[in-house]
C-alpha cells in the first residue's frame, strides 16, 4: 500500500512515516504545498494523509489536485483545528476521514485500515490472527469456523486489537477509539475492562486463545508472543 503523507512538521512526518513503514506501508513524504502537488502529479497512491494547515497554502485547496490526479486514493485529513467548519468543508470536498491533532498512531492505523476496507483496496475482507478471523463485511468474529456473537463495541474493540497487534495500547487510547471525544471520564475506563472481559470469555468459550495481555494495569497488548 502506498501512502502519501503531506505534513509541514518534519518531526511529525518522520514519526508517522516510521510507524507506517513498520506496518508495511510504502511512505512518500511531502512537507509543503508545492512538493505535495508535484508528488501528486507523478505517482498514484492508495492513501493520502493531508495536513490542511500547510504554511504555503491551505491544504483544503490540495483536495482539488488530489481529486484530479489521484481519484482513487483514500483521503484522510489531519488538522490541528477541531473546527467543525474545516471538518465539514473537508468532507464535503471529498475527504474520507478527518483526524484532529493530537491523534495516536494506533488510531491512525485503524482509520487507514477502515478506509482501505471501505474502498475495497484490501485484498480480502477478512483479517486473520492465528485461529481468529474477523469478517469485516459481516462484522463478525469467527473462531475455528464458529461465529461468535459480539456487540458492536466488542467487535470494534477486537478489530482494533487485531489491527494493532503486538502493540501496547493504553486504556485511554482504546477508550478514545471507541468513544471519540466523550471519554474524558477517568472512572469510565471500568467499562473497557467489562467489555474486555466479555470478549475474553466469549473467545475462551469458543475454544480460542486469549491473546489479550494486560500491561502493568496501564494498557493491553494483543499478541501471541
Amino acid at each position: 500500500m502506498k501512502v502519501l503523507i503531506i505534513e509541514d512538521e518534519i518531526e511529525l512526518l518522520i514519526v508517522i512515516s516510521n510507524y507506517l513503514t513498520k506496518e508495511k506501508y510504502v511512505c512518500v513524504l511531502a512537507e509543503n504545498f508545492a512538493k505535495a502537488r508535484e508528488k501528486l502529479s507523478i505517482y498514484e497512491y492508495d492513501i493520502i494523509l493531508l495536513d490542511i494547515g500547510l504554511p504555503d497554502g491551505n491544504g483544503l485547496k490540495l483536495i482539488d489536485t488530489i481529486k484530479k490526479y489521484n481519484h482513487y486514493a483514500g483521503l484522510i485529513i489531519i488538522s490541528a483545528k477541531n473546527s467543525l467548519d474545516d471538518k465539514i468543508s473537508g468532507l464535503d470536498k471529498g475527504a474520507d476521514d478527518y483526524m484532529t491533532k493530537p491523534f495516536q498512531l494506533s488510531e491512525l492505523n485503524s482509520r487507514i485500515r477502515a478506509l482501505l476496507r471501505r474502498r475495497q483496496l484490501d485484498s480480502s475482507n477478512t483479517l486473520t490472527f492465528n485461529e481468529l478471523t474477523i469478517d469485516a463485511l459481516a462484522k463478525t468474529l469467527i473462531i475455528n469456523g464458529q461465529e461468535i456473537k459480539l456487540t458492536k463495541k466488542e467487535y470494534d474493540m477486537i478489530l482494533y486489537f487485531v489491527i494493532n497487534k503486538n502493540r501496547v495500547l493504553t486504556k485511554e487510547a482504546i477508550a478514545e477509539h471507541l468513544w471519540d471525544d466523550n471519554i474524558d471520564l477517568a472512572d469510565s475506563y471500568d467499562f473497557i475492562y467489562t467489555h474486555l472481559n466479555n470478549i475474553r470469555r466469549k473467545i475462551k468459550n469458543a475454544g480460542g486463545t486469549d491473546y489479550i495481555t494486560t500491561i502493568y494495569g496501564m494498557g493491553y497488548k494483543f499478541t501471541d508472543q
Binding site: 512538521e9 518531526e11 490541528a80 501496547v168 485511554e172 472512572d187 469510565s188 467489555h195 502493568y216 496501564m218
Partner: protein, 413 residues
C-alpha cells in the same frame, strides 16, 4: 444629575434672580421718574399760582390739592416737603399726601402756597405700570425657559442616542460602533474620537482573538509530536517503572490538549462563531445523547428516567445544543454514584437534569465558574461551557441541590 436638568435648573435660578432684580430696580427707577415728574408738576403749578396772584390777586384754593393764603412777614419759612395724612371726603378715609409748601413774597406781600398730591394715585400708578410689566416679563421668561428646554433636548438628542450606542457597545459582538453624526462641532469631535477609539479597540480585539486561536491551534502540533514519540517509546519493551512514567506523560499531554481544546471552544462560543441557529427540540438531543452514553451509564449502573411533559424548543446552533446536552449529561454521570439515577424532566418552558450524587461545596453562583471542580481529573470547564452556551442563546441555567443535584434550563424572559 442629568446635564439637561442641571442646565434647566441653572437657567431657572438665574431667570428668577434676574426677574427679582429687574423688578426691584424697576420699582426704584419708576419711583425716581415719578418723583421728578411730581417735582415738575409742582413747579408748574406753583408758577401758575404765582402768575394768578400777580395778575389778578386771586388766591386759588382747591381743597385738598391747592391752598394759598396771605401770611405775615415773620411767618416766611421757605420751602418744605412733608408727607401728611388727610381725610379724603369723596372716599371717606384718610389717605397719604405729599405736601409741598412754600412761603414767598409777591408784589411786596407774603403768601403761603401749599400744593398737595395724593400718594395713593402715585402708588396706583406704579402698580398699574409695574404689574403688567412683571406679568409680561414672567410670561416671556416662561416661554423662553420652555423653548430653550425643548431646544436643548433636540440638541442633546443625538448625544443621548450616541451615548446609548456606546453603552450597548460590546467588543465580543464584533459590531462596529455606529455613532450618528451631529452638526454641532463639539459633538462631532467627540464622535470622531470615540469612533476612532472603537475601531482601534475592535481591531486590537480581533487580532488578539486571532492570535489566541492560532496560538491554541499551534499548541496542538508539538503536543502531537510528543505524544506520537511517547507512543512509539511505549512499544520498545521497557520496564514497568519507565512505562508508568511514559503513560503518565501521555495522559498529562492529553489533558493539556483537551484543556486547550475546551478553552478554544469557550472562546469560540464567546466570539459567537457558531451562527447556524435553527429550532432544536431538546428532547431529541437528550435521547440521542442518552443512547450515545449508554455504555457509561451501564458501567456505573445509572438509571435514567426521562419524562417529557411537553417538548422544549430552543433556537440554537445544533452543534452547541449537542455540546450543551452532552456536557450536562456527562456531568450527571461523572458526579453520580454507582446505582444512582438521572431524572430528566422536559416541559414547554424549562427542562431539568437531576442526578443523585455526593454533596459538593458549590453554590449556584460558583459551580459554573471556570476551573471550579472537586475532582482532580477534570478541568471544571464543562459547566462553564454549558453556561456560556446558555448565555449566548437566550437561555438561563441554574443549579440547585436538595436530595438531587439539579440543573434547570429556561428561556430567558
Amino acid at each position: 444629575m442629568k446635564f439637561l436638568t442641571k442646565i434647566n435648573r441653572r437657567y431657572l435660578i438665574s431667570l428668577t434672580s434676574i426677574l427679582i432684580i429687574i423688578s426691584i430696580a424697576g420699582y426704584f427707577i419708576l419711583n425716581i421718574v415719578l418723583e421728578n415728574e411730581l417735582q415738575e408738576d409742582i413747579s408748574e403749578q406753583e408758577y401758575a399760582i404765582i402768575q394768578e396772584i400777580k395778575s389778578s390777586g386771586n388766591l386759588p384754593n382747591i381743597f385738598p390739592n391747592i391752598e394759598t393764603r396771605r401770611i405775615a412777614k415773620k411767618e416766611l419759612n421757605g420751602k418744605t416737603v412733608t408727607k401728611i395724612w388727610l381725610m379724603d371726603k369723596s372716599e371717606g378715609e384718610t389717605e397719604p399726601f405729599m405736601e409741598y409748601s412754600n412761603s414767598l413774597e409777591i408784589n411786596h406781600e407774603y403768601y403761603l402756597i401749599i400744593i398737595r398730591h395724593s400718594m395713593v394715585d402715585r402708588q396706583d400708578l406704579i402698580l398699574a405700570i409695574a404689574l403688567p410689566l412683571i406679568a409680561l416679563l414672567i410670561i416671556a421668561f416662561i416661554i423662553s425657559y420652555f423653548t430653550s428646554r425643548k431646544l436643548n433636548k433636540s440638541v442633546w438628542k443625538d448625544f443621548e442616542r450616541n451615548l446609548n450606542e456606546i453603552e450597548s457597545f460590546r467588543l465580543s459582538n464584533n459590531m462596529p460602533l455606529e455613532l450618528k453624526s451631529s452638526n454641532i462641532e463639539e459633538f462631532e469631535r467627540l464622535n470622531s474620537v470615540i469612533n476612532k477609539m472603537g475601531e482601534k479597540l475592535n481591531k486590537e480585539y480581533s487580532s488578539l482573538k486571532e492570535f489566541t486561536e492560532n496560538a491554541s491551534h499551534e499548541i496542538q502540533t508539538p503536543i502531537s509530536i510528543a505524544l506520537l514519540n511517547l507512543e512509539e517509546l511505549l512499544q520498545s519493551g521497557l520496564n514497568e517503572q519507565s512505562m508508568k512514567q511514559i503513560v503518565s506523560a501521555i495522559n498529562s499531554l492529553k489533558r493539556l490538549s483537551s484543556l486547550n481544546q475546551s478553552l478554544i471552544l469557550l472562546t469560540k462560543i464567546e466570539n459567537k462563531q457558531f451562527g447556524q441557529e435553527s429550532e432544536i427540540d431538546i428532547g431529541e438531543i437528550i435521547n440521542s445523547k442518552k443512547a450515545e452514553l449508554l455504555p457509561m451509564l451501564e458501567s456505573k449502573k445509572i438509571k435514567v428516567k426521562l419524562m417529557v411533559i411537553n417538548s422544549f424548543k430552543a433556537n440554537i446552533d445544533p452543534r452547541l445544543a449537542d455540546i450543551l446536552i452532552g456536557n450536562l449529561m456527562l456531568n450527571a454521570i461523572k458526579h453520580n454514584v454507582s446505582n444512582g439515577t438521572i431524572d430528566i424532566e422536559i416541559r414547554a418552558n424549562e427542562f431539568k437534569i437531576c442526578n443523585s450524587g455526593n454533596d459538593n461545596p458549590f453554590s449556584n453562583k460558583d459551580i459554573f465558574n471556570r476551573f471550579t471542580k472537586n475532582k482532580a481529573d477534570s478541568f471544571g470547564l464543562g459547566l462553564a461551557i454549558a453556561k456560556k452556551i446558555c448565555e449566548t442563546n437566550k437561555l438561563e441555567i441554574g443549579y440547585s441541590k436538595n436530595h438531587l443535584h439539579c440543573f434547570v434550563i429556561k428561556h430567558t424572559l
